[in-house]
Structures are given as C-alpha cells and as structure tokens.
Symmetry: none
Subunit: 144 residues, 2 copies
DNA sequence: CCAATTGTGGGGAAAAGTGGTGAATTTTCC
DNA sequence: GGAAAATTCACCACTTTTCCCCACAATTGG
C-alpha cells in the first residue's frame, strides 16, 4: 500500500519520477507499467498495472445500459494513458492530464493506498483547507 | 506495550535510536519497520509496522469515490513516513516531521502503549503544565 | 572486572532525482 | 511521394540524497 507525500518536479517533457519509497510497494506483476487517469479531484491518479486491472474489473460489473453508469465509464476511460518506467524510473504524463490537474513545475506526489496521486501543491493545500474536519478530528476517528 | 521515557538525541542527519527497552516489545512481524506520523499534539508518533497496519485496514474499508472518505485518507496519509532500522537500530525522521514537532537536538522518547512518541523535552514540559487539572483529578475522571 | 550491548557520530559508495542529447519514428506540408 | 518538421523515446550525464558501513565512548549485565 502506498503512503506518504513527496515533493518532486515535472520536467519540460512532462516526465515524473515515481518515488523510490513508493516503488518498493509496487508488485512485480505490474511489470513497471502504470495507468494514469483523471482523478476525482483536481489531480492525476496513477495505478500500477495490477491494481488497475482490479479496478477495471469493478467497472466491468457496472451496467452500461444505465445512463449514469455508462457516462461514468466513458468519462473515466476517455483519458486513460499507459506508460512504462524509463531507465530513470520516470513515466511520461500526457499533456491533457497535466492541464486537467493544473500542474506546473512542482508536484506533490501522494501515496493513497492502492494508487498514487499527483497534485499541484497549491491546489492540494487549498483542498485541505476546505474541510470542516481538522487533522486532529480525523486522526482521532481512525486511530482510536 | 511500550512504557517509560528516555532522553536521547537526534543527530545531524535526523536519525533517532529506538531505545533497546522499547525495541524488546516490538513484534517480529514488524520486520524492523516503523511508521512515523504527525502526532495530534506537537510530537511525532511512531508505530511498528504491524500496529500501523491495523489503522490502514480501517482506511482500506473506506470508499475512495466518496469525497468525504477520500479526503479522510489523504489528510491522514499525507503525514505518514516509513523507515526500517539501520544496523545501529536507528530510524531516519523526515525533516517535515522534525519541524512539525519543533525538535532540535534533544528528544524525549515516550513509550505510550501501542506507539512511541517523540517530543521536544521543553514542549512536553509545557504541555504538562498547561492543564488546569491536577494529575489526581484527571486520574479520577479517566479511570472511573 | 571484563565482555557484550547500546547510543552517537561520520565517511564514502551507491542510489535517486533532474536535465538534456540525439537517433528513430511519425506527422505535416508542399 | 518525398523532404522538412515535429514528436517520441532510449540513452547519457550530473548533482544531491540516501543508506550502508565502520568507529568509538558509555553503559549494562554477568
């Protein structure tokens, strides 16, 4: 499972290193392959291939004859991209996802259980502020 | 279960020894791996891996497509870091946690049941003073 | 009192992160 | 259809960080 945050940078070609500490938790089944999609917030979600396949299996159980469900599937799959690590452990993020997540130079990489999220640090900060619950309250709920 | 307090020092690289007397209480399942996280007070909480996994299991049951629940996951995992003991039984504390806990040179290491807390000794002293109630009063309330 | 363990410090090799070059392929345009 | 331009992608190079190892004083325990 992925956890923790890392501040990295994206280069002029749109490449991002996958942090070594996250890479250690990627199964060998993933074959250094990652799937990228639009996040549900203003960020990019990155799944190792094996985790993606599990997620895809869930999508497959949806009913494509229900308007809501097919719309969800289409919206999601529209911007899926696949890439394999280069020799420096980086993946190339498609321009359209970079724009969607409003990413500039600095990126915040967040380990979030079965996926890795990529944020513009400023946007992530704003996102956290919007919450009613403080860190203390959330911690109290989970850690008790 | 962890108990007792120890005054140690953090070195210039941000490493802290885990006291031998606490280490004896760590399960072999933990694989010498510890998770560090922002404490709810001005301190750092350290969990052996196996203890931490209990919390993570709770997070795993949440639905990351529900805005409230993914927010919860992000807020918590943001402040988590992982490390394994080196050959001298030390772990490396990330700079961001050191700053959060306002740690300088001396640290107070506190065994606190299922976790280990790391404090700046001065801050811990202040924390104890801050309460209006005496030890006796608090004990009466909590233990009844 | 001696041997083993523990806590602290630091050097140096290896890994990690970042940036860039240039060949190969694809696309564009005349 | 073919040359020029643009894109892709496999490498190469450099700097910084990480982490593995050695060293040593202090403490503990028999």
């Amino acid at each position: 499972m992925f956890r923790g945050q890392f501040t990295y940078s994206i280069d002029s070609k749109g490449r991002i290193s996958i942090p070594a500490k996250l890479r250690r938790h990627v199964s060998a089944e993933a074959n250094d392959t990652y799937m990228m999609i639009r996040g549900t917030s203003t960020c990019i979600d990155i799944y190792p291939l094996n985790e993606w396949l599990l997620f895809e299996a869930k999508l497959n159980k949806l009913n494509p004859f229900k308007p809501d469900e097919i719309r969800f599937i289409r919206t999601l799959l529209q911007h899926v991209a696949e890439d394999t690590l280069d020799s420096q452990s980086r993946i190339l993020i498609p321009q359209i996802l970079i724009e969607y997540a409003k990413i500039e130079k600095e990126v915040l990489i967040l380990g979030a259980l079965n996926k890795i999220e990529v944020w513009n640090p400023k946007i992530f900060e704003e996102y956290l502020k919007q919450s009613d619950e403080t860190y203390e309250q959330i911690a109290a709920k989970v850690m008790s």
